[in-house]
Symmetry: C2
Subunit: 367 residues, 2 copies
């Protein structure tokens, strides 16, 4: 038995906590919005220093990396919260299960590692039926089959309201030099992105618009068939397995890599701040499909804004040494969108009209 | 790019899901309470078959086990949900952070493996201040320091109401034969438990009683000083690091092991069902400290019931080969409480009066 030492000093203080520091209605408290997502994570994790030799990469990248005897094991975890990350009015449970897995696998791929295992934890309120959970696990299984990963654990518990999902994904490599971090970009590197951007965000706009119409009059049949691709990007995203398999096949190791979950702009800022570099993006080179462009315009939005800040694309943003440019010549669905420059040149967008705009990171601000 | 195939068939169906299978107000749905926690987990995870050679142990034990080149990596994850697992009115944030880590480390120790790394994910509503979160992370850090583990990742997001915490813990061993499962108990094995049982449950009863008094009249000063130990067992449990280190030191590998989170009765049932054996517990041998006994009586409860069903003790329940009995002779704070018998003899309690009672598993039933 370990000693149950003096961690608790004065029990009579316990009951005061409600009016003390836990909650915002007390004297000296700071709203989390003053920090924002990334500032808050920095603040909270700064006191943690790695103690173990096996801690190869700690907090701050898409995944942490554990070094074992021969293997480097990447581990990552993500929450999906009802009402914040998903709305059950338009999210089928199967899609939700699939997406919960995929967004985590994407973080392992972003380390240039093939994911192998997941755990799935859910907390559910009484409104969820056994059938709903079976559907959810069908989605989990579809993702496991699609990405060839095994489910090896989790937790199932109750929740007072709604549903919270927490998936952890793991993957290993024996080749230390093939791991890609956010911190490896160097001046002169070429900036690339896979697939196309902004579609998931626009899919969400459609779902939200049709939801509001439906809620105002449930005889209105949602008009979704025109937007199949955009909606699928939102409800059932895919991680870019093919890109990482291609890197492995041709023996290309990007100098840095991140998956686009927060939006091109934010995620590029992560690479730049962790690599101590700047970057520019050529606006005309950012891949946006026609369907997304026309819908953005229908919503009175600038398509490039959707691509820069929309998020949830789960494409890969990576940099390569200019010497490696020949290697991606035949890589399918990849786009050179800019270049890494010195930190003093900041992170900018070169617009089609020739203007230079500074880019800014945006995390969540849901509070 | 992977193809975004025909996963979604009819988009117009999406909006119907609210009245279809997601929620309980539709036709053919089953309440999760009809299955209970363990039945539900079985139902949901049954369709998953392991595909990878590296999946050494899948769903169903305290941790899953991944086999790498030389290492066996245990991974486990647990939710703590506000209003279900903790009540912020009497839970200081620092204790909460500490406990969230410890309950996961306990699952790694239960595999006879030393934990090494954790990830911590939190979802928080706007009522939580930066200071509250800093306190929470102080508790996380205190646990990391106490158990010599490193924090290597996580997720920080918002929640509509309250707080949800999901911690994942990892640990590795190179000795396959030292891993202990729930499934290894054999007829004739000796049943042992560390520490003492029921204290965490009784600590919770005190906290709940004083909370109700306090809520009825906030001038009443909670009377907690008499129950320091019991309350600390509830608010700041410890994982039994010392026991596992002792096993390693003396070279004893229990035939089966589990940590007591649900209660002695439930957790013994897990060992018995997974080992296809029965067991009996000698009531008089179950370790219950005086403080817990007298408080149980004050609450008109039977102390043995608290020990059997209380849960959250995070002690280790394990079985050893009778040949190994000499090895635990000098092990501190361990108790022989019964024996493994054949499955046909069921799982029973031999009461002090000589009667034999069948034992039953109890999971949560919060819905």
């Amino acid at each position: 038995m370990l000693s149950h030492s003096s961690f608790i000093t004065t029990f009579t203080l316990l009951y005061k906590c409600r009016n003390q520091s836990n909650m915002k209605d007390s004297k000296k408290v700071t709203d989390v919005n003053e920090y924002g997502e990334f500032g808050l994570i920095d603040l909270l994790t700064k006191p943690f220093k790695s103690k173990l030799k096996s801690t190869f990469k700690g907090v701050g990248d898409d995944s942490g990396i554990i070094k074992n005897a021969k293997d480097y094991t990447a581990i990552t975890t993500d929450f999906l919260i009802e009402g914040i990350h998903f709305d059950v009015i338009y999210t089928p449970m199967k899609h939700l299960g699939y997406k919960a897995v995929v967004v985590n696998l994407s973080d392992i791929y972003a380390m240039n590692i093939i994911p192998s295992h997941i755990t799935v934890s859910i907390a559910i309120s009484s409104k969820y039926s056994v059938e709903a959970l079976e559907e959810f696990y069908e989605g989990i299984k579809a993702a496991c089959d699609m990405y060839h990963v095994d489910l090896i654990g989790g937790d199932t518990t109750s929740h007072l309201k709604g549903m919270a999902i927490c998936v952890t994904a793991v993957g290993s490599t024996q080749d230390q030099n093939s791991i890609t971090y956010r911190s490896g970009a160097r001046q002169g590197d070429i900036l690339c992105v896979t697939g196309n951007l902004g579609a998931a965000y626009l899919g969400l706009q459609i779902l939200e618009r049709e939801k509001h119409l439906y809620l105002s009059d449930d005889k209105i049949k949602p008009e979704l068939s025109k937007y199949t691709y955009l909606i699928e990007r939102q409800l059932k995203p895919e991680a870019n397995k093919a890109a990482v398999e291609y890197f492995h096949k041709i023996g290309l190791v990007p100098t840095s890599m991140i998956d686009i979950s927060d939006g091109l702009s934010s995620d590029l800022m992560h690479i730049c701040s962790q690599s101590s570099v700047g970057a520019y993006i050529e606006e005309t080179k950012v891949p946006i499909i026609e369907e997304a462009k026309s819908l953005a315009i229908e919503f009175n939005m600038n398509p490039i804004t959707c691509a820069l800040n929309g998020g949830e694309d789960y494409e890969l943003l990576f940099t390569i040494d200019p010497m490696d440019i020949e290697k991606i010549k035949f890589m399918p669905d990849v786009h050179i969108i800019g270049e890494i420059v010195s930190a003093s040149d900041k992170v900018t967008l070169h617009s089609s009209g020739g203007a230079i705009h500074p880019l800014q990171a945006q995390g969540w601000n849901h509070f």
